[in-house]
Chain length 338, copies 2
Amino acid sequence: VNAELLQQAQAKLDNKTKPLGSLGRLEEFGRRVAAISGTMNPDTTKKVIFTFAGDHGVTDEGVSAFPKEVTPQMAFNMLAGGAGVNVLARHAGVEVRLVDVGMDYDFNGALGLIDRKVARGTKNFAKGPAMTRDQALAALKVGIDQADQCKAEGVAMAGTGELGIGNTTPSSAIIAAISGISVKDLTHRGTGINDAALANKIRVIEQGLALNRPDPKDPLDVLTKVGGLEIAAIAGLVLGCAANGIPVVVDGFISTAGALIASEMHPNVRDYIFAAHASVEIGHRFMLERIGATPILDLNMRLGEGTGAALAMGLIEAGVKVLKEMATFEQAGVAEQL
Amino acid sequence: VNAELLQQAQAKLDNKTKPLGSLGRLEEFGRRVAAISGTMNPDTTKKVIFTFAGDHGVTDEGVSAFPKEVTPQMAFNMLAGGAGVNVLARHAGVEVRLVDVGMDYDFNGALGLIDRKVARGTKNFAKGPAMTRDQALAALKVGIDQADQCKAEGVAMAGTGELGIGNTTPSSAIIAAISGISVKDLTHRGTGINDAALANKIRVIEQGLALNRPDPKDPLDVLTKVGGLEIAAIAGLVLGCAANGIPVVVDGFISTAGALIASEMHPNVRDYIFAAHASVEIGHRFMLERIGATPILDLNMRLGEGTGAALAMGLIEAGVKVLKEMATFEQAGVAEQL
């Protein structure tokens, strides 16, 4: 991101009728979106959240509180506009696009679904690699293609989201592989499993890491061996948004695992990332620190889908409007500081 | 607030297509607005921020970085729609009403300004009481009347805001009087004064408290002796919203001083308050703890006017929409937990 544009945007903000810096992070949002977009007047009309959906072979190990049939059921719920991300995106003036990267279900061309299925779910990583390297690359490309499409359509801001029963398990595995933090310390209850199931989940992840030995220096290897198809697509969207100069708002735990893969591949993508959420989880905190992103919201949300991204996009857009719409001291005839 | 309605709202939320509690504080917002409004389907179309404006005699002591002429200049900026609160309220679909409770300026019926002037500013509290008790009561009534008007108009949610050069000084004085925390610990730089000016501001507040001896057990006495006309109106709005069953979103430092006065008068008003902002200031933290409110946002904003309330109202409305618009497991044909 161009440092001169960042300065130019801050100079514009400093002429607005307010004490210097008094709009805090809203000023950061406006400044960064301007610099990323290459204009002092970004048009934020078009905003899109991509909810990437995939299934996970590792659910065979009983790592989730929900049966995996819920993935396609929730996909239909999203297509009908009834899921959390639909409600919050509508509220924020954001479009939701649901992309099938790897659900284990035949949708027969269901209306509104973007069909980019790479495989019917990953394989069980407790017994072997989750994907082939070609599958991981194909799933990355799904996200990159969506970013290219955003550029073509003039989308001002993209958000990430995901749908996939069991996907906190590969996310924790990715963090463990890259950070070296113990699986026990960074594995949590996902959407609500009990003590016994949590112990099982930890065992499954430890087994998968010991068996597959992902190379922490090779993010694509980590993604291939213990990742997920929708996580790969999120990584691709982040890479593609950075390449196309589009701000990308990263949702919660699972999305951040995708963004982590992207930023391990190309550290420059960090300049394009906005982190929607804070989390109490040690694994999420590690990722945000590694990416260098300060979360925007802390509302104890843990639904995924892109729900946090939707709310954060509304706040980022507010920062852009401060840059564009607030009157200057001169315009308003207001005296500056003594 | 009716505990049964709170339970009823949570039961409704628990049937939505999401893991239990996974929308975190959004569920709290939806639940509380429903219980306060007395309906499971609150209509949030009409939302209003009241920016109460007043001047402060204590600016004679050089406590602010801006000359007091900036109060009416900013009032005109707001009436023209160019101030921060206008931009952020437009973004959130919120109307801004500017109420003159005590500006030291003759507006001659300026278009859009609600003229409820009680006095042309307070007196310098470093030399005597800021107001008479009758003035404090009249200014409280200004806020109460706005809340009554909200009820008549069907306003779903009210927000507080303020405009008044110098008004962090009476706010700090109010907190010191009620909390017993030392003036030095809770006085900050307001909109940006230097070290010498900060030392002066502390001296002025200490002098005012020593001279006026406000009774910490009598919030009206505190308000009268070291408060502000706009702070009194904010307290009145909070009281009036609670009386009328309207959720009230309290902006930052100065607004919270008003809400603190209200909650010291009637502890029950706490059930109706949403705190927009976090703050690093010890005084603000004290007030929020005393009121029992957990701030919604932490974006390092310190402009006032109602800017934080505008953003927080957008998030609270999002919580209401979750309650109203999300599909249930049954509607969506989604399997519940295993």
